[in-house]
């Protein structure tokens, strides 16, 4: 088994797979180490599939806008898999005046960063999506947002990276990193030692512990998010949806089923039995949330629910880029539950950064060392 490469990536999620894919495309030799038994087993296959710009912090907006302009449109062809990418807009729904305030503020700042997003009233919302209830009085509308299938996209990156010669090893949890002669060098797992000139840590929540071994700390905590999926239904709408209250988000998939996520308010305190498992309180709560917006879906059946750990950072945006104090080390974590839509751009830009030292999009606002105390 190959244990030596130009780049060793820790984490076989969509970030690791996409970066490996673009690196290999530029001719690099890459090893990807995944701790679990499955590729894309964390947030990559447990998210709601949003490919959005609206609603994001302005610090990560340029990167996601870059991806939507340059990478998403051709991704299915490139990955030889149906990513089910739909660019039919995002409605972020509001039911109260307070919601309107929140949404307007978000829209204003995004517009400032160059995104086409605007506020629309309830009737305009229902002109776009006639199934929404009268309770909806406003929404922010971003026509260039959309959604895709996180499962096929993640595994598509994996499949094509593997085709390009990337070595993937699953069931290989990383225990520590080692700096040799002032540069990152070794990645030590339970069973093996891997060596690379460059090491990218893209292991979600586990990144914190792994980085601890070389004295880097990214302040993250976990939060258990849940999604549910319905039986297939006749086609209703193509937009991605979210709400000001964050009580639910989701879309109708190509398959006809609806994938919805949401929150119960207890996610930060939910416990686990070793794997992320759903709490008995969350799915009913999400259902109640959805029915308020979509009364027509009340009789639609849920066939499956699932949970995933989110890597929440103190300021809600990722830690991304080079760790200059340890040459050769890179991080990409703390995606805060919205790492899917941005992943192709992250992968492509990181590949360029690792191999050329340059990026098309300025990543400095996402620097790993930005976390400061409040006073």
């Amino acid at each position: 088994m190959k244990t030596n490469a130009e780049v060793v990536i820790v984490g076989g999620g969509i970030i690791g797979c996409a970066t490996a894919y673009y690196l290999a495309g530029m001719g690099a030799e890459v090893i990807v180490l995944e701790g679990s038994d499955h590729i894309g087993n964390g947030g990559s296959s447990r998210n709601g599939g949003g490919v959005r710009q609206s609603g994001r912090d302005v610090r990560e907006l340029p990167l996601v806008m870059y991806g939507i302009r340059n990478l998403w449109p051709n991704l299915s062809e490139e990955l030889e898999v149906d990513c089910e990418y739909h660019q039919d807009g995002n409605l972020r729904l509001g039911k109260t005046e307070k919601h309107r305030e929140i949404l307007t503020k978000l829209a204003d700042s995004a517009r400032g960063a160059g995104l086409d997003v605007r506020m629309i009233d309830g009737d305009e919302v229902r002109a776009i999506n006639p199934y929404l209830s009268r309770e909806v009085i406003c929404a922010s509308w971003c026509p260039t947002d959309g959604h895709a299938n996180p499962l096929t996209t993640t595994l598509g990156f994996y499949k094509m990276a593997r085709k390009r010669g990337v070595t993937f090893v699953t069931g290989e949890p990383v225990k520590e990193l080692r700096v040799i002669r002032g540069k990152i060098r070794q990645v030590i797992t339970l069973h093996n030692i891997y060596e690379g000139e460059n090491v990218l840590v893209a292991a979600g929540l586990d990144s914190r512990e792994i980085l601890t071994s070389v004295g880097i700390d990214i302040p993250m905590t976990n939060s258990l998010l849940e999604c549910l999926v319905t039986e297939a239904q006749p086609h209703m709408f193509d937009q991605m949806l979210g709400t000001a209250e964050a009580d639910f988000y989701g879309h109708q998939t190509k398959h006809g089923s609806f994938v919805f996520g949401g929150s119960s308010g207890l996610e930060r305190y939910n416990k686990d039995n070793g794997t992320p498992v759903t709490s008995s309180k969350t799915a009913p709560c999400i259902c109640r949330g959805i029915i308020k917006y979509f009364p027509d879906l009340a009789k639609v059946k849920i066939v499956r629910t699932w949970a995933g750990w989110m890597d929440a950072s103190s300021d809600g945006v990722p830690a991304l880029g080079a760790v200059e104090e340890i040459p050769g080390l890179y991080v990409a974590c703390a995606f805060n539950g919205h790492g899917f839509g941005i992943a192709p751009a992250v992968g492509e830009q990181l590949a360029k950064l690792i191999l050329t030292g340059r990026t098309d999009v300025d990543l400095s606002a996402l620097h790993y060392d930005r976390y400061k105390a409040k006073i």
Partner: protein, 116 residues
């Protein structure tokens, strides 16, 4: 249970079979050939297969095809089916209407046995 799995291990080429068009997942209408091809595309666990192809993701949630898919993937990888992980099982065990899932019975005041 982790087991180091080098996904570059040679499992031989994909050889088309005469029964590749046989439906295996009845709900999502996934064929044996699609499953076999997915293994050669690198999907080496049942979890990856199901995420990649939607086997067992339909209305019945794999109640019928789970065992069949396991057999096909194991044979393609040249391993025993018992070496493959069990399919994940998730709530709800049967399809349930959103309005019913949403309708949680009010807490009963009496606390079971302890008031008897």
């Amino acid at each position: 249970m982790n087991s180091v799995n080098d996904r570059s291990r040679d499992i031989g080429p994909f050889v088309p079979g005469p029964d590749d068009d046989m439906i295996i997942c009845r709900c999502e209408e996934i064929t044996k050939g699609e499953i076999r091809q997915a293994v050669h595309d690198g999907m080496w666990t049942l979890t990856e297969i199901r995420r990649y192809l939607r086997t067992g993701m339909g209305l019945c949630q794999g109640q019928t095809c789970g065992r069949l898919v396991k057999g096909i993937v194991a044979r393609e990888l040249g391993i025993s089916p018992a070496e493959l992980e069990p399919a994940a099982s998730r709530v709800p065990m049967r399809p349930i209407e959103m309005e019913i899932f949403a309708n949680e019975a009010p807490e009963e005041k009496e606390v079971g046995y302890y008031e008897d």
